[in-house]
């Protein structure tokens, strides 16, 4: 069978599966025995195996087969997903990705390597990875056999509530409840359980959240944390007496650490804390082995298992080339529309006029609909961040929680492709320079776990992406020292450096505050690189920081790059378009205002000396004729302002960017071309390369 025509579909789908394997594994790390996630992962590996086999990619199929076998052992509960296995799976996924990309490139690959043999080892020596509950049966109750997954993670606030409860003679329990399969009106059933508990306890937390329970966004299991003066057994029997409850397990919450005790101890725990402490201590040693097997509780973020399938019918996969062609055609249509509109001005006939108005409206709608097609959720970029943050947090020995918001914010595909690297850089910065080591954080009275937040949202015709952390903020002293060393500022003038000054220094080319070049960030690419790449996308970067409270970087991007607002200027009888995002202002300058420094023309604008360039000259024409006054446009690029002399200004207009054909290639100073309303072609100037070219 000739499978080459399915190659692209295979590649796209295989990458999707890899991404979901990655996401699921991250989620599994928090809830190691979640059967839903394991099923999902097993299916993904299984599908990958089948697809690879069909394509004739033997090495891929062999390797995924081994992954599938390990996942099957996990799924059936023959082995337990401890830290070791999860780490092996992470490496396996990475290797699988490499294998896939190499296979797609047609390179010779073999599945036999050490990762494959590690997987093999797990399969052969599965006894070694058997469930911990069996190994330490003396500690677990008889109910452990149908273990319910999903540990509630207590945040500092909950912890405080629990501690206060203890102080007042209450006990805290985590109660895990499983409903019977086929339970109808699950949310109402949960409600009856809440009702039953109400009279004798206080529910301080539930997982999934109350809202998720209310909206039935859970399978059959959920957990509650309650404070009560009742005995554990009483609470359990009350819940057991509610209809359709399949299984109830109560675990005492240890007073000193957020670890959960087993029910065996819980039953004996008296309401008085005095007796509670020795019991916990006695168990501490016995439990330590168990605990080390458990995942670090506060660290990872649970990524929900995606519900694939439900949306499968709602989407079609379209080759991006076809989409781009459509956008291009719509662009042409928009230009023709402008031409027709211009012609329409001279038409008197009312009927033709209304037809033209209608054409105008439909074209505009079509243009937006087509643009919308090319919009993709920023999730595509965000997806890889959880994994990255996890790995980097491990590498730097920090505890970091990543919160992502607004993943479904849409922006143009071309932007999504290019915003990834700057965001990665910002996240790396936050992890490396922002979030402090655990002991430092605790000394400052912060939580041991650092918090990084990345949020995307629409604002007008822009998309904002914010990356913030609760780390140490920009260290002004360090910035000053480095800036002096780098010669960016003189040693004397730095008596008073404000946070604002420090931040603007960070954006200077070649600046890095890291003491040493680390693995994580600081390979000589600094914030200036972030700024430059965002500005290339016609966006802007801002930063706020406050010592010991953290930093926030805000990236502002246009919704799309295909249609932009531009300032039309004339020089040498030719019309050029300058993207409005880089234009700061325009002025009229008289010849006597032009000064000369080092034989170069400059103007002084509000005490700032700006180089003055003649656009005609840069573009290789003869110098513009000096008239009474000169039109000068101040453009900014890479933080530098330059005045451009032009002959005339035509005004602002929305233009459709067309790239120059491959024949012409990349011309420095030219970003592309556009067709104006009158049919004339105008070149779009690229200020960054235009000005560099001149320097």
């Amino acid at each position: 069978m000739d499978t080459s025509e399915f190659r692209d579909v295979f590649a796209a789908e295989a990458r999707d599966y890899l991404q979901s394997l990655n996401d699921d594994l991250l989620a599994l790390e928090t809830t190691p025995d979640n059967p839903k996630i394991l099923d999902e992962m097993f299916r993904a590996a299984h599908s990958l195996k089948g697809m690879s086999g069909t394509m004739g990619f033997e090495a891929l199929a062999d390797f995924t087969h081994q992954m599938e076998s390990v996942l099957d052992l996990l799924r059936t509960g023959e082995i337990v997903a401890n830290k070791e296995i999860i780490n092996v799976l992470f490496t396996a996924i990475d290797y699988l990705e490499l294998l896939l990309e190499k296979t797609l490139l047609g390179e010779d690959v073999t599945a036999v390597n050490e990762i494959a043999s590690t997987l093999e080892e797990i399969i052969v020596n599965k006894e070694r990875f058997m469930s911990t509950s069996e190994q330490s049966s003396d500690l677990t109750s008889e109910q452990t056999d149908d273990k319910i997954s999903g540990l509630v993670i207590l945040d500092p606030f909950d912890r405080e509530t629990v501690e206060q409860g203890y102080a007042q003679g209450y006990d805290a329990f985590e109660i895990r409840i499983r409903l019977r399969p086929k339970t109808l009106l699950k949310s109402v059933r949960v409600y009856t359980i809440f009702q039953a508990l109400e009279s004798m306890s206080t529910i301080i937390k539930c997982k999934p959240s109350a809202q998720d329970l209310e909206e039935e966004r859970f399978d059959l299991e959920f957990s509650l944390v309650v404070l009560t003066q009742e005995k554990c057994d009483t609470i359990v029997s009350i819940i057991e007496n509610v209809s359709e409850v399949d299984n109830v397990q109560a675990l005492a919450i240890d007073r000193l650490s957020p670890t959960m005790d087993t029910e065996g101890t819980a039953g004996n725990v008296d309401a008085k804390t005095a007796t509670l402490q020795p019991i916990s201590k006695a168990n501490a040693n016995a439990n330590s082995e168990l605990q080390s097997e458990e995942p670090p509780k506060e660290l990872p973020i649970a990524t929900p298992v995606q519900n694939r399938g439900v949306f499968a019918d709602k989407f079609v996969r379209v080759e991006t080339d076809r989409l781009d062609k459509l956008i291009n055609l719509v662009g042409e249509l928009v230009i023709s529309r402008t031409q027709v509109l211009e012609m329409g001005k001279s038409i008197e006939q009312a009927e033709s006029k209304s037809t033209i108005v209608q054409l105008d409206r439909i074209t505009t709608d079509l243009q937006y609909a087509a643009m919308k097609l090319r919009m993709v959720p920023i999730k595509q970029v965000f997806d890889r961040f959880s994994r990255m943050v996890r790995d980097l947090a491990q590498a730097t020995n920090k505890e970091i929680q990543l919160e992502m918001k607004g993943e479904n914010t849409e922006l143009d595909r071309s932007l999504v492709n290019q915003i990834g690297d700057p965001l990665v850089h910002l996240l790396r910065n936050s992890i490396d320079h922002g979030i402090e080591q655990k002991d430092v954080r605790l000394a400052k009275g912060k939580t041991a776990q650092g918090h990084i937040r990345i949020e995307a949202r629409h604002e007008g015709s822009h998309v904002l992406v914010e990356v913030s952390d609760d780390g140490q903020g920009v260290n002004v002293e360090k910035v000053r020292a480095k800036a002096v060393k780098r010669g960016l500022i003189s040693a004397n003038s730095t008596a008073e450096l404000t946070m604002k000054d420090a931040i603007s220094l960070i954006f200077e080319p070649g600046f890095s505050t890291s003491d040493q070049v680390t693995d994580v960030s600081g390979r000589g690419v600094g914030m200036d690189a972030v700024k430059a790449s965002v500005e290339m996308l016609s966006g802007s970067v801002e930063m706020e920081s406050s010592a010991d409270r953290g930093s926030m970087v805000i990236i502002k991007l246009p919704l799309t790059l295909a249609i932009i607002k531009a300032l039309l200027v004339v020089t040498h009888q030719q019309t050029y378009a300058i993207p409005i995002s880089s234009v700061r202002e325009n002025l009229l300058v008289s010849p006597e205002q032009i000064k000369s420094v080092n034989q170069k023309k400059v103007i002084v604008l509000r005490n700032e000396v700006l180089p003055l360039l003649d656009l005609a000259e840069i573009l290789g024409f003869s110098r513009s004729q000096v008239s009474e006054t000169l039109s000068v446009i101040i453009v900014e690029s890479h933080g530098e302002k330059v005045g451009l002399i032009v002959e005339d200004l035509l005004g602002q207009q929305e233009i459709v960017i067309k790239s120059l054909s491959d024949l012409l290639g990349d011309i420095p100073g030219i970003a592309g071309a556009t067709v104006l309303g009158n049919g004339q072609v105008a070149l779009i100037l690229d200020n960054s390369t235009l000005i560099q070219k001149e320097e």
Partner: protein, 120 residues
Amino acid sequence: MAKTVLITDDTAFMRMTLKNVIQKNGFEVVGEAADGEDAIAKYQEFRPDLVTMDITMPKMDGITAIREIMKIDSNARIIVCSAMGQKPMVIDALNAGAKDFLVKPFDAERVIEALQKAAN
């Protein structure tokens, strides 16, 4: 002694089905009511251990009837019977004092479980 049950539903068919299941499992059906008002009257008459209460009924709906019966006897053990998609009404009924709920179409085991648990 067998626990006594009052069945409330406006359709004779549903009453019959429920009665069949309930009697087969060791409960005694002491009365049947066809609407809320009827249920209140029969409750006072028979003082049953347990009541099954439909929600949508003529004259007086089940939720009002639950409230009224609870006023008469705060220890009344009432199980509300609902159709799918009546979630808000089930919650109202539970708040009014119903001990448990059943969702139609009834599953015999569920009916018995609800009765046994409510009787405890």
